[in-house]
Symmetry: C2
Subunit: 574 residues, 2 copies
């Protein structure tokens, strides 16, 4: 419930329907009922308002037909309640009544928004996907930065500095207090935000098409930030400053505060934004959060920024973040691979200068008591899955498709050849394919499990970022053919691929799955064409692909057959 029980002066307003008989009036009457006067007061007030003598036989009931008495007056006659004046409790309603109700969403809408949204798949911990929502926001916020786009995830686990906290800091455009207010409005997205003279979001403009749809336009539903912070912890402090502002704006949303407000019957969705000068941390008086003084002191050097500080971090998250640092930093690198490295990805042979297409620093740092901080820039990571795919591939096949006008899918297939005595298709270091080490199976099983094994071919990116739980098995034109094809069947197991869609393909609000990618891609009207040197090819894609695969096999696969033992040869080139 949302309404408060009593008005300011202990006076409650109730709405009375007189439904005693046929001549009952239709509308309701508002009555002021004094708390002190109780049931007797209500009765008197009813008699006076309706104009009946108190000798007359009548009952006053709730809309559930509970008769109001001295004993239950307090719990039944609440402010805003609708009441009936009837001849008897079980009398039929001659004419209908209209009962005023409020149905404010429960605060769990915010506090539990993430709880059931990030779910595990194949033994993965979903925590990195919550972090990804905060990185998404920072990517959106830094999209118009002129210089480097800096996103820092700080794991503040040094307990000499206070209780454990996670901070995500970016040097993006920041938020005005109005925008910060809007941040807290669940489901308010850039599409529904009202044209507001203070907001730079009014009149949302779709970004222009760019390669791999790396448009940084990944704030979408108006839920991600809230889901993420309350998945990670119990309280979020948002601190933000836009470039042209004197002031820093600060807002705290905390589970505890909501519980308190509910208990005290205060307005659930009201609060305060603190506006203050940069680097002013006098309000941080709680010792548990003393790390905030340092974080706030850093504001001095910054023109614009946003800092998200999550406290009340779940203990199991802390354990995971510490113990699996290596794993989840690679997962994040995988998700944002093309944002970090640019549309071509982390190619071995290209120069590594930072330019406009790879100026995104995503820096993770872990602070623990008495240890030197562990810091990694995701761009340095060289063994995330996409890097492995790119760097074990000997050739690639690019293609494109359009769907219903402005739906765009780009794609790439990579060939991982067989070299001498082994497949070069990379294994996922986080989740080694469990079948790989079963060595003594039938030949037959080994063949199926070779190279890619049971994994689907395509990983799928939406506006440039990985949607981790959706993959596409194959397309007709790149699946093993029924009849013998140009290349041996095992070559079809040596390809990996990635698809890149724009936001005309829909994803679920947790950004874990596409809604209907496969349905749309396998639509008869979706035509794929090969792209070679930037040009769409004329030939049908199945033919193009078959020829490319045959070519790859002939050029790159180096298979050797061991016959009779002749002696040991050392091969330093392997």
């Amino acid at each position: 419930g949302s309404g408060s029980d009593a008005g300011v002066d202990g006076c409650r307003t109730v709405y009375l329907f007189d439904r005693r008989g046929k001549e009952s009036e239709l509308g309701d009457r508002a009555l002021q009922v004094s708390e002190r006067a109780g049931y007797a007061g209500l009765r008197a007030s009813v008699c006076q308002t309706i104009g009946i003598s108190s000798e007359e036989k009548f009952v006053i009931t709730t809309t559930s037909r509970k008769e109001i008495t001295c004993d239950n007056f307090d719990e039944t006659v609440k402010d805003g309640a609708t009441l009936y004046l009837l001849q008897s409790v079980d009398q039929s309603l001659v004419t209908a009544t209209k009962e005023r109700i409020d149905f404010l969403p429960h605060y769990d809408t915010l506090v539990k928004s993430g709880m059931y949204e990030y779910y595990a798949s194949e033994g993965q911990n979903p925590l990195p996907f919550a972090f990804a929502e905060l990185i998404d926001n920072s990517l959106s916020a830094t999209s118009r930065n002129v210089g480097v786009r800096r996103i820092q995830i700080k794991l503040l686990f040094d307990d000499t500095q206070g209780k454990p906290a996670v901070a995500v800091v970016d040097n993006g455009r920041g938020m005005t207090s109005k925008q910060l207010n809007n941040w807290a409005v669940y489901r308010l997205s850039k599409f529904t935000r009202q044209g507001d003279f203070e907001s730079d979001h009014s009149g949302y403009v779709r970004p222009v098409p760019v390669p791999r749809s790396l448009n940084s336009d990944i704030s979408y539903f108006g839920v991600g930030g809230k889901q993420a912070v309350f998945f990670v912890g119990q309280s979020a402090r948002m601190i933000s400053k836009p470039a042209d502002s004197q002031d820093v704006h600060e807002l705290v949303l905390a589970k505890e505060d909501f519980e308190k407000k509910e208990k005290n019957k205060e307005a659930i969705y009201s609060g305060y934004i603190r506006n203050r000068k940069p680097a002013d941390s006098v309000h941080i008086t709680n010792d548990d959060e003393r790390f905030l003084h340092n974080l706030i002191a850093e504001e001095k050097e910054k023109d614009s920024f946003t800092t998200v500080v999550i406290t009340g971090v779940q203990p199991e998250h802390i354990q995971y973040l510490k113990n699996y640092f290596h794993l989840w930093t690679r997962q994040l690198t995988h998700i944002y691979h093309y944002y970090i490295h640019g549309p071509k990805g982390n190619e071995k042979n290209t120069a590594k200068e930072v330019g406009p297409s790879n100026n995104i620093d995503i820096e993770i740092s872990l602070f623990e008591k008495g240890k030197t901080p562990k810091i990694v820039n995701l761009r340095e990571i060289q063994d995330d899955m996409q890097t492995l795919y790119i760097n074990t591939a000997s050739d690639s096949f690019e293609f494109k498709a359009h769907f219903e006008g402005d739906g765009v899918v780009e794609g790439v297939i990579r060939y991982h050849p067989f070299l001498y005595d082994r497949e070069t298709y990379p294994d996922d270091p986080g989740f080694p394919s469990k079948l790989r080490d079963e060595e003594d199976d039938d030949d037959c099983f080994i063949l199926e499990r070779a190279a890619r094994g049971k994994r689907p071919i395509f990983e799928c990116f939406w506006n440039g970022r990985l949607i981790p739980y959706t993959s596409v098995e194959d397309f007709d034109w790149c699946a093993p053919p029924k009849k013998r094809g140009l290349a041996p069947i095992e070559c079809f197991n040596r390809i990996s691929g990635a698809l890149f869609t724009n936001d005309k393909f829909q994803v679920s609000t947790n950004k874990l799955t596409f809604m209907d990618l496969e349905l749309k891609l396998k639509d008869k009207n979706t035509l794929f064409t090969r792209i070679l040197n930037g040009q769409e090819q004329r030939m049908k894609i199945d033919r193009e692909f078959a020829l490319w695969l045959k070519d790859c096999h002939e050029k790159y696969d180096k298979q050797i057959k061991f016959t009779i033992f002749k002696g040991i040869i050392t091969r330093p080139d392997l």
Copy 2:
């Protein structure tokens, strides 16, 4: 935003912080600003309240430091706004300010709640999963019925009766007006509902353990009904009557109304419940909904009921529901198989009398103009996947596991033997395994694809209902062994299975996926034991399973090898 722009009498309250200098007072001052008096009035009021001469140099700004002038007064000085009194626009804030904000969830929280929640998987249309949420609610509501539990889904597509609508009707316990009010509160679940003297939910009691966890306790998050109705259409009319009530309660939530309220700056989450006598439809005056007169007339015969009427049904849903009637009714049968048929499922050989464990009638009816209605009771359907599994199996293996105290998993594995010239493992008629008809492959591929093929072994049920997008590939003890086992390798492809968990295993709010089933089941502390004739077996389950499988192979598999043609034999037993 939620606040209204002006008070009743055109008078706005604003909160002013004097932050001109060091001696500034800390708190804010509430000022009443008359709309008519405009900027001049505000200025005068500020001077008077703070006690400064109007000659003094000062500016009044918004919290975004926009100076208030005659021109922008109307759009900047809104009711409830926080304002600054400063020496100059870009002066620093000596002491911080506290700006009052509201952050009411946007109404898309309700209206779009389902839009991105039900997503497609493997070419499936998710619409049946939205229906399932309404069936879940009806199952919960009828759980204490004494007689038959009746759930009707009516597709009202006869346009002589009005615009297309979907109605879900049950003979469950119904809702009081307070409970109907609570229905509309997003995220208010049985766990968070406040002890309320009118509610039968106060003090939620966990159901006692029952076989297959068929406890009908599948109302969980406080979101399902809202997500479902707004996924299917644009408006929901809830009509309900509890058994001991004289009155029917009726509530309409419609996208259109929310938009209207936003436009008129009315309270978004306020509305009316109509309380009326049963079968009274005088309020239905809109011709588009004239089918409601019949629906409401049926109330006469009913003691208690709930009817959900969805209008504004998406045209593509109408097409799908008509064209794929056969498919989606089977999907629903599959989801609720064990509720419909009882814990043993739809066994061929057991008597089909309706008893307390299979007294749930889920009836689907499709009404179209000029056609006889198509009506099916899901219990009659004999080719849903679970029925196919059960009826092609020649033997079954039951097991059980406990997780962390009160987490319960029951399971069954079924053996589908090879008979003469073919596997009996059933194919999914809705989604025939695409590899099946590729006949001229290598022998090797045929082996892998035989019987179950790439499909995982286990389908997973939560509190007795299918969670459609989660499956479990296998367990260590029922996966093909590394070394040759007791039974030939292809026998492992002849098993199907189902897992039944209680709600100690979590599902996502859309009930499409388990959150962490696999993680928990594969936990080292989760021990499985075989159940034979209701008794837990002592032997280790891997041994039990291996012996059972060998037994199945020897008893049921009938493989024949064709050698030399000798003549034609007719086998009437196949």
